[in-house]
Structure formats: C-alpha cells, structure tokens
Symmetry: C2
Subunit: 364 residues, 2 copies
C-alpha cells in the first residue's frame, strides 16, 4: 500500500493507493474520525458492487453506516439531489463529528463533497474514488461542486477530505471508455508537470491499455503525488493550481456546447490538449515535436485527437464564458516543452478558431 501525504497544515491528509484498499477504510477512519456515525453516498451500480465491502469495513471498526443513494453520473450534481442528501444526513442523525464518504466517480465525489462542506458548516469527508478519473484527479484537492442549469460546477466549495482511499482493483469493472477518459488526466499530468512520467507513459502504452494492475498502481500513485504537490502549492486555486486546467479551457467549452452528451470529460480534455498544443505551436511557444508527442500518446491510448462538429465559432464563444475568466479575460495553460507549463492571457479568438478548424480537418 503506497501512502502519499498532501501537506496542507491542519488540513493535511493521506492518499492511500493499493489493491484491496477499500477493505481497510473502517480501520483507517477509526484513527482519524471524531464521531462514530457515517453515511456513504453512492449510485446504485457502484453501491451494488462495492457498498458491501465498504459498509462491512466501517461496521467492523465500530461505525454506524447509512447509505445515501444518488443518481449516476452528472445527474447527481443538482441542487435537488444535494437537498435530499442534507435531509438524509439529518434523518440519519449525523452531527458535526460524523463522516460522509463518497463512493463513486467524480460526480459522486463532487456532490458528496459539497454536501459535506455545507452540512452543519462542514463535516469530515472521505473520498473513495472508483473511476480512474476520480482516482488520479477529482478526489484530490478538496474541490466540490454542483451544477447550475446555466453553468457547470457553479455552486461549490473547497473542502479537503480526511483521507482518499484509492483501490485500483475496482478499475477491472470500469467500462473501457471511462477508463480511457481517465487516462487523459494522466497524460495531462505528464505534459505539464513531469517529462520523465510522460516518457514512462509513452513506453508502457500496451500495459496501460491492458489494465496491467502493477502498472496501474504505479501510474496512479505518480499522478496522485503530482496532483497533491500542486494542491499543496495552491490550495484555493489562486496560482499554480490553474495549470491543472491544461486542455480544460477548450475541453469545458466542447462539453458545454454539446450539453455534456457527446464526449466523456476525458475525451473532451484530450481534444482540448491537442488544441492547446497547436495554439502553443502557432504562438511559437513550442515546437512541432512537442505537439507530435502529445497527439501520438493520446491517440495510442485510444483518445480522440480530432472532431467534426460543432463549428469553431460556437466553441470560441463558449470559451469566453469560462468560469476562470477574470474581469472578462480567459487564461490558457500552454506547454512550452513536455514537463513545463506557462499561463497565457489574451490569446486571440481567431487563433483559437483557426486551430479548432485545423483539428476538424484531422489533427496531428
């Protein structure tokens, strides 16, 4: 079992990565949680598969357990679902010392984190991510949110977990498309933060695609450590944490204009990474070889690198509404070389549109 610490002073916490880790949740929580009551937030399919393991582990360590069922995927991230969760917490008698556990993908973690952040002004929270995307990215760093009808993740909070328990065993039951979607964030970590890691990924595409367990454990642990380091440097996303947005400016816009139905998050991020790479090349910030390596690795991992619709101007318009805008300006993260990043404001809209048009003709 690999243990990574996210150092945030009084809000520091461990990330535990290892096959079978879900069976250790109760014992580990015993050492951290002040109260004996818990509630596990999850969706039906995840709860059916892994709920019994988690509940048994918690009860075995002396905790009471209430299960709170929420819809699958993004449908969980509504105010109506949050409201039902607050009701259920109150009915279950949860107080300020009780712990809420999120068992599921990024959406369940976002919702449950928001509920834990706001119930009684914040109660202890644990992340038990069951998708690759949540394991390497969403479960670390305390970002929680629900969606507004007009803007994703508009309503939220920063609420660090007591711990994150990552069990790569659960990836064996994850659909392939979901697995590949998570790989986009893994590739992102390599591009902007760690050239050696990127090379490691390039060298082990076959093992990754075949879900070789030791390879996955190693990769997940590296990504967790990289993400944790960025969160340590910038807990509230005022500076360096913005770099994790690499590929997400275009990615978010692509998701928004297709009502989150056309691409999985990681697929949209993959397209966003290609767009960011091409923008960097046009601006003379990077070279053709750096672009080629990014596009090649994404493609080798089964992620999209070109697309046919919607029209570039529609996407550019959506980018201008980005939540990270500051008094109207949208920052872009670019990668001058593999393992490096740079934040650039004021990229001309027509340059972005031109790159998107190029991708529509077939990128790379």
């Amino acid at each position: 079992m690999e243990e990574i610490t996210v150092n945030l002073g009084p809000r520091s916490y461990p990330i535990l990565v290892g096959a079978g880790a879900l069976r250790t949740v109760g014992r580990r929580l015993s050492a951290l949680a002040p109260g004996r009551r818990t509630a596990v937030v999850s969706d039906r399919s995840v709860l059916t598969r892994y709920g019994p393991t988690v509940a048994e582990s918690l009860r075995g360590a002396g905790f009471s357990v209430t299960e709170i069922l929420v819809p699958e995927g993004e449908a969980a991230k509504t105010l109506a679902v949050a409201e039902r969760c607050w009701d259920d917490c109150l009915t279950a008698g949860l107080d300020r010392t009780s712990t809420l556990l999120a068992l599921g993908g990024g959406a369940v973690g976002d919702l449950a984190g928001f509920v834990a952040a706001t119930y009684m002004r914040g109660i202890p929270f644990v992340q038990l991510p069951t998708t690759l995307l949540a394991q390497v990215d969403a479960s670390i760093g305390g970002k929680a949110a629900i969606d507004h009808p007009r803007a994703k993740n508009l309503i939220g909070a920063f609420h660090q977990p007591l711990m994150v328990v990552v069990d790569p065993d659960v990836l064996s039951t994850l659909p392939d498309s979901e697995f590949r979607s998570g790989l986009a964030e893994v590739v992102k970590h390599g591009i902007i933060l760690d050239a050696a890691y990127f090379s490691d990924l390039e060298a082990h595409v076959a093992e990754i695609i075949s879900k070789d367990l030791p390879t996955l454990e190693r990769i997940i642990a590296v990504s967790c450590r990289l993400k944790g380091r960025i969160v340590e440097a910038d807990e509230r996303e005022g500076g360096p944490r913005a770099t994790l947005n690499y590929g997400h400016t275009v990615g978010h816009a692509l998701e928004a204009v297709t009502s989150y139905s056309r691409w999985l998050h990681g697929e949209a991020v993959s397209l966003g990474i290609v767009a960011a790479a091409l923008i960097a090349e046009r601006l003379g910030v990077t070279d053709a070889e750096t672009v080629r390596r990014q596009v090649s690795l994404l493609r080798a991992l089964g992620l999209p690198v070109s697309f046919s619709a919607p029209a570039p101007h529609v996407i550019v318009e959506a980018i201008s509404r980005d939540k990270k805008a500051r008094d109207g300006k949208v920052p872009f993260v670019l990668a001058p070389r593999i393992g490096e990043f740079r934040l650039v404001f004021d990229i001309p809209a027509d340059l972005v549109a031109s790159v998107l048009a190029e991708m529509q003709k077939g990128a790379g």
Copy 2:
C-alpha cells in the same frame, strides 16, 4: 473611525466602526477587492434607506453595482432564496474576482455569506451590518448559513469577509425591540469575556437605552474586539468559540419550539442567559450575586428574564436536538464569575427542566 483587525493569517480582515462609515465602503473596497463588479444583497426596507449611500460610494470608486433583493428577516434564509441569488450573480456576470456585499441584519448576512461562500466555490464578501445584533456579533467571524425546514442554520459554511463596516448611525432607525435584542449579545460578551466591560454596561444603562451615539460607538467597538479575539483563537468553532454560545443552548431551543415567532433572537438569548446563570448556581459553579447581576442588567436593558410557556419538558427535549451535540451530548457554557466561562457536558435534563420551571414562576 475605529479600526479593529481580526487576525486570521491570510484571511485577516478589518472591522471599521464609526458614524458615517457606510459612505466610505467604495473607497475601502478599492484597496481590497481584485475585481470591479459587485452585488449588494439586501431587503426592501434596508435597501430603500441605505442602498443609495452604499451604491453611490461603490460607483464613485469605480465599481459596477447590481442590487439583489431578498425577503426581510429569517425568510431570506431559504434554499429557494439562495438559488435566486446564485442566478442573479450569474446574470450580473459576477466572476471569482467580484465582491458580494451584505447590507442588512443577521439574516441577510447569513444568506449572502452562504451565497458568497458557494458561488464559484467562494468569492470576496463584505459585511455591512445594519442591526445592533449583526454589528456586534453576526457579521464577525465568517459563519454563514441558510435554514433547513427541520433545523435552523443547518446548511452553511465558514467564509470570512474581506472587511466589516459598522455604521452606528443606522441604529437610529432600528425598531426598539430589535435594538434591545442586540443588547443581549452585548451583555453576553461582558458576562463570559470581560468583567470591566460588564461593569461599564451596568454603569451606563441610561445612555445605552437612549441610544447615545458616542456610547454606542464605544460599546460596539468593544464587543467587536471581544468577538474578533474569540474568532482569532478558534476560527472553525472547535474550542473557545463555543463559549459565544452562552445563553444560546436554551435560547435556541426556546426559538425552535415556538417556531421563531414568539421572541426575537436576543430576547430568547436573554432568557437563555438567565437559565444558564441559574443552572450554574444550582451546580455550585457560581454564587447568587453573580446570578443577580446578570438578571438585573438584562432587566434594566428591557430584556425578558422570565416567561410563561412552553412547558419545561418541551424545551428540554428541543435542547437534546442541538446542532452542537457531539455523539448525542449537548455542551452548556456556564459563567463561574462575571468575565469567566466554563464548558460543561452532561448537565442532567431534570436540573434544566427545574430551572426553567423556576423561571416560569418569575425569575430573579
């Protein structure tokens, strides 16, 4: 203009106390706020009286201003109202650098603080309290919340303001009952935190009741400093901040069992202070003279010290559901002497019921 600093490291902020302070909001915010967009949350009567002063001050300093109207009093603290505020913030184009200002009493501050804490995971926030209660207590310390149909303040957050601007001028238009209600928190500060301040209040009852402006300025500044000191010691209410709950355990229960319609908050707190004083005496924690001084000062300031209904067992039952319960136990704050406090768990329910019965025969 008196300036008090609440020292919370990167979340430190000033409290400005002085007649005419509302006219300085724009200038002061210029030095603190990153973005140029603002929204002022207020109710109709406060907005009519003081909205123009605040808006003019903000516009004069180069800010854009959107007004967000919410219902008066506790009716503002619902999820439906919060939802409308998030909508209005989005429509007004507020981003992470924009500032939300609460102009009003404790309820408006609680609601607007919650909206500011959760909109885009937290945006800058300013408190402009217009009731005595909000000026000396609610506006300081970052506690924000809305109500759940079954529990007051159940859904909330800690979100410190950028600054608190307290203008005692506005108290001239505050209804007398609201003014007296605020005095209960002032008396509370004296009892648990500062014996000299308590004596000062005893010596100046006439000036206080007649709303003598220099006296009010002085008293408000002392209370703000005392409250700020407690918040500094315990930002997230894990320890000493619980002492501010003096009089509130019984007070909250009285409010809850009468559906918040029988007493103003400070009136219920006044009764709660009397109950806490009598409980301390029965337990041998304090003496009769200490009880007498508390009851006398509250009575002299026009606050209630006895009541006729509801029945003691109903109130005791409500106390057991207190949000501050930890695994089922409700802590009571007691005052061994004026200027001192002690946190006591496990006070027998029949002792509490007996004290409440004594108060119903006419306390003091």
